[in-house]
Symmetry: C2
Subunit: 316 residues, 2 copies
Amino acid sequence: MTVTMRDVAQRSGVSVATVSNVLHDTAPVAESTRRRVMEAIQELGYRQNEVARSLKRRTTHTLGVSIPDALNPFHATIAIEIERRAHRDGFAVLVAETENDPELEEAQVHALVGRRVDGVIFPAVTAGSAILAELLDRGIPVVVVSFPAADARLGVIEVDEHAAMEQVVDHLLALGHRRVFFMHSGAREEQVDVRPEAVRAALARRGLEPARAVEDATAVCCTNDVVAIELIDQLAGCGRRVPEDVSVVGFDDIRMAAHSRISLTTVRQPAVEMGRLAVEMLLTAIAERRHVAQRVVMPTDLVVRGSTAAVTAEAA
Amino acid sequence: MTVTMRDVAQRSGVSVATVSNVLHDTAPVAESTRRRVMEAIQELGYRQNEVARSLKRRTTHTLGVSIPDALNPFHATIAIEIERRAHRDGFAVLVAETENDPELEEAQVHALVGRRVDGVIFPAVTAGSAILAELLDRGIPVVVVSFPAADARLGVIEVDEHAAMEQVVDHLLALGHRRVFFMHSGAREEQVDVRPEAVRAALARRGLEPARAVEDATAVCCTNDVVAIELIDQLAGCGRRVPEDVSVVGFDDIRMAAHSRISLTTVRQPAVEMGRLAVEMLLTAIAERRHVAQRVVMPTDLVVRGSTAAVTAEAA
DNA sequence: GCGACTCATTTAAACGTTTCAACCAGCAGA
DNA sequence: TCTGCTGGTTGAAACGTTTAAATGAGTCGC
């Protein structure tokens, strides 16, 4: 039914080895036969079977991306850049969503292993370290983005969340806020999230404690922009205006944060660059048949927009 | 290096055929040997090589998703649901982004063919019909979402865009608008977009012509929510308020449209259901070794929010 | 004690490539 | 004329599975 290398070989009167050679320049082949082979390929509409190729070469030219929630724009941006960059090097991308469910994550990663991906990227806080270790033990290089992980074989791309939160807190204090609340997402990832602690530490250094509840605060630091934008919505429902009554700060700087109606003060992370770098680290590790074993800290920027303002006498 | 079925067989003192049989219940095997095999699998950490399996079975249990712009939340929602639903049936998903570039699209689809995906979904207006025909001719079933395509072998999931735009125009006219502009995205997809024509037709039926420019209009229909939200932003920059000075309508009802600060009147498409249905149609076609050859029209709803209002005397 | 069955297991040939070793022709140098 | 290259080509053995056909060992009815 489908046309194979054998068919091409037959039609052009050469051996399959020769066809393979013209396809990959892996040995010199006479110009005339090369032409004949190419013609046969054209005429038959032959397209190489990458599955067979993968089996023989023991490498699939495929990357796995395991992402907890693809609806989060920050993670999605990274994932998309991964796909784009990987494609440039002829790598395909197998996407696995884990919905913050450890069991599902395990199943997904096992599926990736079964499909013999050449490497895996985790674009967000998620993986249990057992799962990471399993991949690494199998010789599969791994890059994790923006979460603390111990294994030295890992590639890690992160930002200095403590420094970033220092900046945020500085900004809020300069505006006169004293009652700052930290709001996390409901997701399981919060267990590994260092941001609440970073905020607490930054406040403590100025002799302050975090507020106990949103209702109590004049300013709220959110663990990411999605949470911040939802919060703004909820506050509106309670009749509290942003920034007049409450200041709100996000994290990530997703595209929507810049929209005039939202205008969210936030910490910018260079998502696209992080995605690109993740792929590049992974690809060179794969090429050199080794683990990534490298840690990179990316810069952040505090982007001040309209969701933060000086605390009013009334609110204070 | 990596452990294979042979290793498991050796360790448990049986043949590879038996191992295969216990793994897939493809022939009766004694309880005692089954246990021994399972133990060996455990001890060795064996994980089946899906690549070899795919080669032999001539099916990869992999779907291709070719998407023009994964940053568009509507398309992303469909794609994510595709991944979730496919995973439930043990299918993996290979994502290919085409960035609205026909050449890139061709390359991506060829890559999918080379990897022998069992089926392909196009979650958005995009594919050149030559590419679709190539897939179909190779016996690969295809589902396209929400765009008009002629080939009878195709699976098509769409909405009645004309009816939807009738509703939109009705809504605007009821609010007193007479000068309505249609705004498309800059992307190449606009060539296949039927929505401008649908709006024109709906207006014509009421004896009206579309406005020539945004500046000229009291209401703007956008080809999707992303365009609408951007437009609102730009209008704010020019000092025109929405909805007081201009009414704006989107299409898709992406999550952000419901946000209180955006509050976009729009046409809801059931993205999740569309994604799920796409997979289900594709999977049954794959199982039955045939093309999908089916066309489904999904319902839409006009969701009226705060971005549309009665035209003011001043604006009119 | 024999044929007919069933249940459990194995042998071996694929699946579509890559790649190594071998081969052959022609030619340059001695 | 022989030797050794070099450029071009091929045969055949993998890669890790599945699966049809073959084999073997019981069991059963008679």
